[in-house]
């Protein structure tokens, strides 16, 4: 794996996680009505970030096996839990942390074989 591929994999992962966080914030904003500029802006950038992640993944899949790229998706569970706690101020309980770690490990195992 070259430095460029590593950077692309990382960018794709970051874009996916940023997309989920933006969509979450956007959908929370809809509790106060759909027409707010803040809500539309968050949802649009969220969908944009997901699109960037999607096309980077398609590009990466032309060079790497799915079983090589997919484990990185497994890591998204742990990273998303950490960032959700920090940026969305969601509470991480012990069962949630343990469960997320097991799911993450499971996803990596499912995609490795």
């Amino acid at each position: 794996m070259t430095a460029v591929s590593a950077a692309l994999i990382l960018t794709s992962l970051v874009a996916f996680i940023a997309g989920q966080l933006l969509l979450k914030r956007g959908m929370e904003a809809t509790h106060h009505g759909w027409r707010q500029p803040q809500c539309l802006w968050l949802l649009t950038t969220g969908i944009g970030a997901m699109a960037v992640s999607f096309f980077l993944t398609v590009g990466l899949l032309q060079r790497f096996d799915l079983s090589y790229l997919y484990p990185f998706q497994g890591l998204s569970v742990i990273i998303l839990a950490a960032l959700g706690a920090i940026t969305l101020r969601e509470k991480i309980t012990l069962p949630l942390a343990i469960g997320s770690l097991l799911i993450s490990a499971g996803v990596v195992l499912v995609s490795l074989s």
Binding site: Q20, L21, L23, K24, M27, E28, T30, H31, V58, Q62, S76, V77, L80, A81, G84, A85, L88, R89, E90, K91, I92, T93, P95, L96, I98, G99, S100, L101, L102, I103, S104, A105, G106, V107, V108, L109, V110, S111, L112, S113
Partner: protein, 147 residues
């Protein structure tokens, strides 16, 4: 009531949405089922498209000739809408791990419907994901009972 600052599930939204199709917890599973359906359709469509040998087949765009792929795209859009609904009510740190149930649905349905093999290591992964899901979902089930 599940209290988490910024993503409170208020009583008004849960009282009518507790049971049935509008229940956001059900929508997590429903969204994963839609993703699974879309993946199966796209796989089927891709296999049909692979039989035609156009020079631009490597782009994957050849798949658009197959009606199966369009069904796949339709189900992807539905699953995205369902996921947005989930995000409106459920904290992301709970909803996202639970959405990983798709990593159980896809291999098992590929095994049952497409007759694909599942290796021992993959079965271990599926079991790990299931245990993790049970641990994450248990406190949630208790909250639902109290409501």
């Amino acid at each position: 009531m599940l209290m988490r600052s910024g993503s409170t599930i208020d009583a008004r939204s849960t009282s009518w949405a507790l049971f049935g199709f509008a229940n956001p917890w059900f929508q997590i599973v429903f969204s994963a089922m839609l993703v699974t359906a879309s993946e199966l359709f796209i796989k089927r469509g891709a296999m049909v498209a692979a039989e035609t040998s156009a020079s631009w087949n490597w782009t994957g765009l050849g798949g658009l000739q197959s009606v199966w792929v369009w069904w796949g795209i339709f189900f992807v859009i539905l699953s995205f809408l369902s996921w947005l609904y989930v995000l409106k009510y459920i904290p992301l740190t709970v909803a996202y791990p639970l959405s990983c149930v798709v990593h159980v649905f896809i291999p098992v349905s590929s095994w049952l419907i497409l007759n694909e093999a599942i290796s021992a290591r993959r079965w271990c992964g599926i079991v790990l994901v299931l245990i993790g899901l049970a641990i994450v979902a248990k406190p949630v089930a208790r909250i639902e009972e109290r409501l």
